[in-house]
Amino acid sequence: GQQVMQIPQYQHVQEGEDFTTYCNSSTTLSNIQWYKQRPGGHPVFLIQLVKSGEVKKQKRLTFQFGEAKKNSSLHITATQTTDVGTYFCAGPRSGANNLFFGTGTRLTVIP
């Protein structure tokens, strides 16, 4: 069945260090979305990537969609304590109009 794996599962960084999470799908995705969920909160949409090799930036966050459209990454430069949370990637479920979420990467930022 369809799988979307994220690595690492957990990441602890010192404030100011960079952070990267990787998302790997077992199937080709028409698009990929990234969400952030703060502790005790709900997923909040960050961005959507559609094109092969696409790179998008949001301030300190850089998102990339792989050439084969089966993997993606989120890189945060100079992490801040406000970056704490779990980052999920999500792609369309095969043959359906709904999302299949990845396993998530929980980021802890140590002040």
Binding site: F88, L99, G104
Partner: protein, 114 residues
């Protein structure tokens, strides 16, 4: 504008009971999706409704059912509750049912089954 709202915020039930969770989408959004999020995992798709019709169903037993009303609000019903149904139930709304449409999540209903 108000975001997606869900009620109740928290709920405690015992095994075998029935529960109804409610969701009001963002004004103008016609699609509502329900997800179950068990602690430490990503959201798992349960149902999607668009224009009052079921557009998708995840791998959940028939104890789970849902419907969408003419005002696009939605209810998720779970019968014969099991301990494993304890989770955060999330509702997400979008303008259409397309996966390219941004989904906006509500705060969720945290269900505890004892």
């Amino acid at each position: 504008d108000a975001g997606v709202t869900q009620s109740p915020t928290h709920l405690i039930k015992t095994r075998g009971q029935h529960v109804t969770l409610r969701c009001s989408p963002i004004s103008g959004h016609k699609s509502v999706s329900w997800y179950q999020q068990v602690l430490g995992q990503g959201p798992q798709f349960i149902f999607q409704y668009y224009e009052k019709e079921e557009r998708g169903r995840g791998n959940f037993p028939d104890r789970f059912s849902a419907r969408q009303f003419p005002n696009y609000s939605s209810e998720l019903n779970v019968n014969a509750l099991l301990l494993g149904d304890s989770a955060l139930y999330l509702c997400a709304s979008s303008f259409t049912s397309a996966t390219t449409d941004t989904q906006y999540f509500g705060p969720g209903t945290r269900l505890t089954v004892l």
